[in-house]
């Protein structure tokens, strides 16, 4: 457990020292929210959720890319692959929760007659999905520019697709949109259930995929044989 928490702590320390990045992480959802602020309240909240998802995914993408050279030597220093990816994910989840709190308070003070618990659950889904999603892109694409473009494509697709469309359910952040509809429009509980189910399944799938990618990348190579000291 110490290894997991050390990696999580160092991830948070690194991100906390990147003040410019932190500012942009807060600015991104705020800008999304402000642009839709004059429109229907549901639109501003959905834009806010998308902004949080994008910000946390981007942080995860860059944190994963930055650690690419460090991880193999940490592996040699005694870490197992799961210490590295779960530890980093814990740190990113922590960061995501930290940037979500002010935005949750913003919605509480700004908009009345909402199911606030639903807003909180939607934000949790955003953060839960975004960290492994950004990590997966960072692990698969070695260059940050390519990763950022892919992330941009996915988020743009998420924004433009009709949520009722069957294809929309294949986008990673559909859950938060569904839960937000329940929280803002007071629709039936089916929205909440479907949203939570989607969030849990997508998060689970992403974690399993991240685990597989890290296990392959940081595997013990077959040509290397360890024998005990004599």
């Amino acid at each position: 457990m110490n290894r997991l928490f050390t990696v999580a702590e160092m991830t948070l320390r690194e991100l906390a020292r990147r003040r410019g990045v932190l500012l942009l992480l807060l600015l991104m959802p705020l800008t999304f929210w402000l642009i839709r602020r004059d429109a229907y309240v549901g639109q501003s909240i959905r834009a806010l959720l998308l902004g949080i998802s994008w910000a946390v995914s981007t942080a995860a993408l860059f944190a994963t890319s930055a650690a690419r050279e460090l991880e193999p030597r940490l592996r040699l220093a005694g870490y197992r692959p799961h210490h590295l990816y779960i530890g980093r994910m814990l740190g990113l989840w922590g960061l995501g929760l930290a940037i979500s709190v002010p935005f949750f308070l913003l919605t509480v003070f700004d908009a009345a007659n909402l199911r606030y618990a639903g807003i909180a659950v939607a934000m949790l889904c955003c953060v839960a999905v975004a960290a492994p999603f950004g990590m997966l892109i960072g692990a698969l694409l070695p260059r940050e520019l390519e990763g950022t473009l892919l992330l941009l494509t996915v988020v743009a697709m998420q924004m433009l697709l009709d949520p009722a469309d069957a294809g929309a359910k294949l986008t990673p952040f559909w859950s938060s949109r569904e839960i937000a509809t329940w929280a803002v429009d007071h629709t039936d509980d089916g929205y909440l259930t479907r949203g939570i189910m989607h969030g849990v399944v997508v998060t689970g799938l992403l974690i399993v995929t991240v685990a597989a990618v890290f296990a392959v990348r940081l595997r013990r190579r077959r040509h290397l044989h360890h024998v005990p000291l004599v």
Binding site: N2, R3, T6, V7, M10, R13, E14, L15, R17, R18, A66, A67, E69, L70, P72, R73, L74, L76, A77, G78, Y79, R220, R221, R222, H223, L224, H225, H226, V227, P228, L229, V230
Partner: protein
């Protein structure tokens, strides 16, 4: 040649004549103090560095030649291709405990690739590597985190071995001091100079007390003093029974190593 140059040449002579590292350091420090307090041209005071080193060796003796132990690293038949280009062909290297091996060759001949294959970071197309004991690896570049302090690097590496924070920090700072670097400051890795950052890199690789230490051109950005400190440290580690593999293109250091693998010839099927 000024006094500093003379002292460096003198230190190098002592190393070449296998004077124990600590004794050599002591003798050089005494000579430096003598020159500083008494002044004068070292050539007039002590004579040529070679002559004075020979006199010192007669007086205090040398360490016995390194007692080599069991095989710690055995790489055999390593072949690696990138596309149609064969970078390594049938390269082999055996390093025993208490030995330093140098991997040399022209740019692009596969020195770093060979080391990464030995570390298990890259798969070869042919051949295998057997390692006895724990591996340590110092990459040529990268391998540190820009936004962490040196102490945090030590904690991170230490946690991998189950070492608590306090002892990991102390061990890291002590290893850094061996390279002439005080690692206690609150300076982020990205603000360290290239040479100091490489010292951090090197310190991280020795922190876990590896039995086999793989170093990929570890002296990048080092000044002359740091370079001497590095070789002092490598010789000390060798005398402690570690097996060390250094990728280098500085052939003037080859007299200090026990095994040489020239990959220029290995590419053509040659061996060490």
């Amino acid at each position: 040649m000024n006094a500093d140059d003379w002292l460096r040449a003198f230190a190098a002579e002592l190393h070449q004549r296998r004077v124990a590292v600590d004794a050599a350091r002591h003798v050089v420090a005494e000579a430096a103090t003598h020159l500083r307090d008494g002044g004068g041209d070292p050539w007039l005071v002590f004579g040529p560095p070679q002559t004075y080193a020979a006199a010192i060796v007669e007086s205090i003796g040398t360490t016995p030649g390194p007692r080599t132990g069991p095989v710690r690293l055995h790489a055999r038949g390593i072949t690696k291709r990138y596309g149609r280009r064969t970078v390594l062909r049938d390269a082999s290297l055996t390093v025993r405990a208490g030995q330093i091996a140098a991997v040399v060759g022209a740019n692009g001949c596969g020195k770093s690739t060979f080391l990464r294959i030995c570390a298990g970071l890259v798969s070869p197309d042919g051949g295998e590597v057997t390692v006895s004991g724990r591996l340590g690896f110092c990459p040529q570049q990268g391998g540190t985190a820009d936004f962490l302090l040196p102490d945090e690097h030590f904690v991170l590496v230490g946690a991998g071995q189950g070492v608590a924070r306090g002892p990991a920090r102390r061990a890291g700072r002590a290893a850094a001091r061996q390279l002439g670097w005080d690692a206690e400051g609150d300076v982020l890795a990205r603000h360290l100079s290239g040479g100091t950052r490489q010292k951090l890199n090197l310190t991280m690789s020795t922190l876990a007390e590896p039995d086999v230490l793989l170093l990929d051109e570890p002296y990048q950005g080092f000044d002359q003093g740091s370079y001497v400190n590095l070789w002092d440290q490598l010789l000390r580690l060798r005398d402690e029974g570690r097996a060390i593999v250094v990728v280098t293109h500085l052939l003037n250091q080859l007299d200090r190593v026990d095994v040489v693998l020239d990959l220029t010839s290995a590419q053509q099927g040659g061996r060490s």
